[in-house]
């Protein structure tokens, strides 16, 4: 079950970072696109974490 959840997160991340970083597909994954994708994954996870914290604050305020 946890494995399915990780698979699903990988799919979601690939979708988001593909849209963010890939313009026209080329014959190789160039360095720029690769580091864009890897930064995208990390920043996306930072974003999720920051939002989680924010939502908890909000719930406390209610």
């Amino acid at each position: 079950q946890q494995k399915a959840q990780i698979q699903q997160q990988l799919h979601a991340l690939t979708d988001v970072c593909w849209e963010k970083c890939m313009d026209k597909p080329r014959d190789k994954l160039d360095y720029r696109t690769e580091s864009c994708i890897s930064n995208c994954v990390e920043r996306f996870m930072d974003t999720t974490k920051a939002i989680g914290v924010r939502l908890q604050q909000k719930y406390k305020e209610m």
Binding site: K20, R43, T47, A50, I51
Partner: protein, 55 residues
């Protein structure tokens, strides 16, 4: 709640992190916080308008 977290991550990342760098910049962090707050505000406005309309 997990669903809301996923949706907000998606929406706010797309709106606030235009070219992902080696860390979240200050303005990106602010944008994300405001994005969450404004989304919850929007949800409230939508709920109010929806209920008014149904009556």
């Amino acid at each position: 709640a997990t669903e809301l977290l996923q949706k907000l991550s998606d929406k706010c990342f797309k709106k606030c992190v235009t070219s992902p760098g080696t860390s979240l910049g200050n303005s990106e962090q602010k944008c994300i916080a405001m994005c969450v707050d404004r989304y919850l505000d929007s949800w409230n406005v939508v709920s109010k308008s929806y209920v008014q309309r149904l009556q």
